[in-house]
């Protein structure tokens, strides 16, 4: 799974953007915990509020908003592209 971060997140975790997270299929929650762990101390709080996703963070798996596919329980395939974008970006 390759993870792409919007610049507002990138500044807190330089080097994470475009990072490949090798592995088989799993849930978005599991993937994002791995992303959080790969970032600096405190980075998890940029993505999560407790166990929930941050309210203004939009997550797309291969272009599809995870709110359409089961939220944090959505499945991510081994070769998926995952985008983390502020929900307020555009429209």
């Amino acid at each position: 799974m390759r993870v792409h971060l919007a610049s507002v997140l990138r500044t807190f975790a330089p080097g994470l953007d475009g990072r490949e997270f090798p592995g088989a299929e799993g849930s978005v929650a599991e993937l994002l915990e791995r992303v959080a762990a790969a970032g600096p101390v405190g980075f998890r709080a940029r993505l999560f509020e407790g166990a929930a996703l941050r309210r203004y963070l939009a997550v797309y798996i291969d272009g599809v908003d995870i709110r359409f596919t089961g939220g944090l329980a959505s499945r991510v395939g081994g070769d998926s592209r995952v985008d983390l974008i502020p929900a307020v970006a555009g429209g």
Partner: protein, 447 residues
């Protein structure tokens, strides 16, 4: 950045420019997060670094000098430069003429509304209100040294962005969903904009544009510059209030796409109230949001009393300009509606088309479906009692009919054909006789 932060410095009395308003008149002091309240400078940021919430421009209202008419001697949007983001030369950057507030007595009578005013943004240069936010965002982009301008558009922002970029000699890349009508795309081509199509609906276009904004040196007016872009939409309210002599209406009806126009209207009402531009004793206007039934995520959240908005996966319907399934400013719009004691409504496509015809028939104004949606909501809420016979109502007409021709419904009767040598006028006479009685005493004639 220097271009922005420099004029914002506190004036040094020893400088030759001392006394000249910093930021070319703007009283903006920073960005503030609508979700967590974090304060930021007037930076190039579209989301709060703390919580990713939406950022809006904050002003030092105590420093505003202009009255309800804005800066004396200025015209158009530039009148309200104190309440817009800072630019060095607001009279040039914000040179966009204001629009009429039209009294609509025939439509008001038909609907049973006391007094109806139409904020007619169909007359703006590219036929939609988007010329307002595009002018403000492009001014920021240029002040911050952007070499290219971009936007993600359901159709109307495309031409508005191309126009504002053309005036600044910058290339414009407009991202649109596939299959828009010529009324939306032809102006873009004429204005020199580059059209970038994305298959699928607007939400897909928007996401791809957000990725492009990260990857390319393009200043997207409604993505990277969104906090500044949104400010432009406040100006319709300032003009309305001035045209009404400070007597605020009871209700303001606004179409919802991303929700930015309604949220901006809510901020503008609060600012003008704090500035004392609203006459004492006049009502606090209730904001009414209108979204077509085929794409109504904000209206649905309002009805169900939710604070979070569930996106619509496949928006449908005739109102393409409002077909935003995942509205970026939806939460702000929802809060503004609730805080004002307003409501939200979602008419069907049939009602939207009838709204276009009603407005044309009774007031002689041709709108695209966003306007039909608003007129349909006027009819529905007059029936439900939310718009009362004694109310003064302002309704926003945000897009001209020529932007989406063919939206008004069942084909009109085909043209009558006349023989060029022996014309038979009997059919015409029959049609004439079907029309209302002539005025008492008859007209003069023969005509």
């Amino acid at each position: 950045m220097a271009a922005i932060s420099e004029p914002l410095r506190a004036a040094d009395p020893n400088e030759p420019t001392a006394g000249v308003t910093p930021g070319g008149a703007s009283r903006a002091v920073g960005l503030v997060c609508a979700a967590c309240g974090a304060r930021r400078g007037l930076a190039l940021e579209n989301a709060c670094p703390e919580c990713l919430g939406p950022l809006t421009v904050a002003y030092d209202l105590a420093a505003v000098r202009g009255g309800r008419g804005g800066r004396p001697g200025a015209s158009g949007l530039a009148r309200y430069a104190e309440l817009l983001p800072p630019v060095a030369d607001p009279d040039r950057a914000y040179a966009l003429e204001g629009t009429p507030l039209r009294d609509a007595p025939r439509l008001a009578r038909e609907l049973g509304i006391g007094r109806l005013y139409l904020k007619d943004d169909t007359v703006l240069p590219t036929g939609s209100f988007k010329d307002r936010p595009a002018a403000v965002a492009v001014a920021q982009a240029v002040a911050r040294g952007a070499r290219a301008i971009g936007c993600a558009s359901t159709g109307n922002l495309a031409a508005a962005t191309a126009r504002a970029a053309a005036r600044e000699g910058r290339p414009a890349f407009v991202f649109v969903p596939e299959g828009l009508p010529a009324g939306k795309l032809d102006p873009v081509r004429a204005l020199g904009g580059r059209i970038v199509e994305v298959p699928g609906g607007y939400d897909r276009t928007n996401r791809i544009a957000a990725l492009a904004a990260e990857a390319l040196e393009i200043a997207f007016v409604n993505i990277g510059l969104r906090p500044y872009y949104a400010e432009g939409s406040k100006t319709a309210w300032y003009e309305t209030l001035d045209a009404l002599g400070g007597e605020a209406p009871d209700r303001i009806v606004v179409p919802l796409g991303s929700g930015a126009l309604l949220a901006a209207t809510g901020r503008a009402v609060r600012e003008t109230a704090a500035l004392g531009w609203i006459r004492p004793g006049s009502p606090v206007p209730a904001l009414v949001g209108s979204q077509p039934e085929g794409c109504d995520p904000i209206v649905e959240a309002f009805r169900l009393g939710r604070t979070e908005i569930r996106p619509v996966r496949e928006p449908r319907g005739v109102a393409e300009s409002l077909a935003i399934g995942d509205p970026a400013s939806g939460p702000e719009a929802l809060r503004a509606i609730a805080a004002s004691g307003g409501t939200a409504d979602a008419p069907s496509d049939g009602e939207v088309r009838a709204g276009i015809r009603d407005l044309a028939r009774l007031e002689g104004i041709w709108v695209e479906p966003a306007g039909g949606t608003v007129v349909a909501t006027l009819r529905r809420l007059a029936r439900s009692g939310f718009l009362r016979p004694q109310d003064r109502v302002v309704a926003h007409l945000t897009g001209a009919g020529w932007k989406a021709p063919g939206s008004s419904g069942p084909r009109a009767a085909p043209p009558l054909r006349l023989d060029p040598v022996h014309p038979d006028f009997s059919v015409l006479r029959a049609e004439l006789d079907r029309n209302p009685e002539p005025p008492a005493g008859g007209g003069e004639g023969p005509w």
